[in-house]
C-alpha cells in the first residue's frame, strides 16, 4: 500500500507510515487547533494497513510535546494498533521522550495501561 508521509509543521508532527520499508513513526510536536482533522488520514491509513499488516510492526512515538486534544487521536491510533496486535501479536510501541521530561514518559505509561501492546521507553 502507498506510504503516508506528512511533513512536520510548527504545530503538527512528522508522520511516516510506510509498510514496505516497515517504518511507522510520529515525531515532533502536536498541538494543532483541529487534531481530528490532522489525524484523520493517519487513522484511515492504519485502518487500511490493519487488513494486511506486516508480521512485525514497531510503531515509534517520539513526541516532544502534545496538547490535551491530541490525547484522543493518539489513543485512537493505539487502539487500532491493539486490534492488529490481537490478530498477529506482532505490534510493539517504542515510546520516546525527551531526557528529563517525566510528563511525556508518564503519558506513555498511562497509554500503555490502556492498551494490550508492549511498550518500551527511550529517552532522547
Amino acid at each position: 500500500m502507498d506510504p503516508l508521509r506528512i511533513e512536520a509543521t510548527v504545530d503538527t508532527p512528522l508522520i511516516v507510515l510506510d509498510s514496505a520499508s516497515n517504518i511507522f513513526e510520529i515525531s515532533g510536536k502536536s498541538y494543532p487547533e483541529d487534531t481530528r482533522e490532522f489525524f484523520g488520514p493517519v487513522l484511515s491509513w492504519i485502518d487500511l494497513y490493519s487488513a494486511s499488516p506486516n508480521a512485525q510492526t514497531v510503531f515509534i512515538f517520539k513526541l516532544k510535546y502534545f496538547n490535551s486534544s491530541s490525547y484522543k487521536p493518539l489513543f485512537d491510533i493505539l487502539n487500532k494498533l491493539a486490534e492488529i496486535n490481537k490478530k498477529n501479536q506482532g505490534v510493539k510501541v517504542e515510546w520516546h521522550y525527551k531526557e528529563g521530561d517525566s510528563d511525556i514518559h508518564e503519558a506513555g505509561e498511562e497509554f500503555a495501561d490502556l492498551v494490550e501492546i508492549a511498550f518500551t521507553y527511550h529517552s532522547f
Binding site: 510535546y65 525527551k98 498511562e110 490502556l114
Partner: protein
C-alpha cells in the same frame, strides 16, 4: 490623539510595572492559532523561560498552549464577528515559580459552569486527577466543543496552583482571568 510625552510615561510606567511584577512575556490581542504559535516560539526561545528544568519548561509551554487554545475555543467576542477572540496573556517568573496569567471575555451564561468545572478540578489531588484524566480519555462520546475537559485536567496535573476571577462587564459579557502557578521545583 495622545501626546508623545504621555505615550512615553504610559510605556515607561508599563515597563516599570512589568519589572515589578516579574513579567517576562506579555501579549494583548485577538487570538488565532498563528498568534498562539508565535507566542510559543517567543516563550521557547526566551532566556527567562529557558532556564528551568526540562519538565518545568515543558509544563509552562504546555499550560500556555492549553490556556491560549481555550481562549480560541471558549473566549467570547464583543464585535459579533465570531472570529476575533480578544485576550491577554502574561508570563511571570519569580525565583521560585512561573505564573501564567490569562484574561479573556466569556458569556455571562457560561460563568457558572466554568466556575463549577474549575472548583471541581481544584479539589482533586494528583492521583485523582490522573484517574479522572483516564476516565475522560476512555469515554467514547466526547462533547464536540469541550475536547472532553482534558484541557483543564491537564492544566491542573501540570500546575501547582490555579486561581480564577470573574468580573461582570455588562448584561452579556464577563471578563475571566486565571492565574496558574508552576513551581520551579515541581516534577522533582
Amino acid at each position: 490623539m495622545v501626546e508623545t510625552q504621555d505615550n512615553a510615561s504610559l510605556l515607561y510606567n508599563w515597563m516599570q510595572e512589568c519589572e515589578k511584577e516579574n513579567i517576562v512575556l506579555s501579549f494583548k490581542g485577538d487570538f488565532n492559532q498563528d498568534l498562539v504559535n508565535a507566542i510559543l516560539l517567543l516563550a521557547e526561545r526566551g532566556q527567562n523561560i529557558q532556564n528551568g528544568s526540562t519538565v518545568v519548561r515543558a509544563r509552562v509551554f504546555s499550560i500556555m498552549v492549553e490556556c491560549m487554545q481555550n481562549i480560541r475555543k471558549y473566549g467570547a467576542v464583543n464585535d459579533g464577528s465570531g472570529e476575533l477572540k480578544p485576550g491577554i496573556v502574561l508570563v511571570c517568573r519569580t525565583t521560585d515559580s512561573y505564573s501564567l496569567i490569562t484574561g479573556n471575555l466569556v458569556l455571562n451564561e457560561e460563568v457558572a459552569s466554568l466556575k463549577a468545572q474549575i472548583d471541581k478540578i481544584k479539589l482533586l489531588n494528583k492521583e485523582e486527577l490522573k484517574s479522572l484524566h483516564k476516565s475522560v480519555l476512555t469515554k467514547t462520546e466526547l462533547s464536540e466543543k469541550s475536547g472532553a475537559g482534558l484541557g483543564l485536567i491537564s492544566i491542573a496535573r501540570k500546575s501547582d496552583a490555579m486561581e480564577y476571577q470573574f468580573k461582570q462587564l455588562d448584561d452579556k459579557i464577563s471578563f475571566y482571568s486565571v492565574n496558574i502557578t508552576v513551581s520551579i521545583n515541581s516534577g522533582t
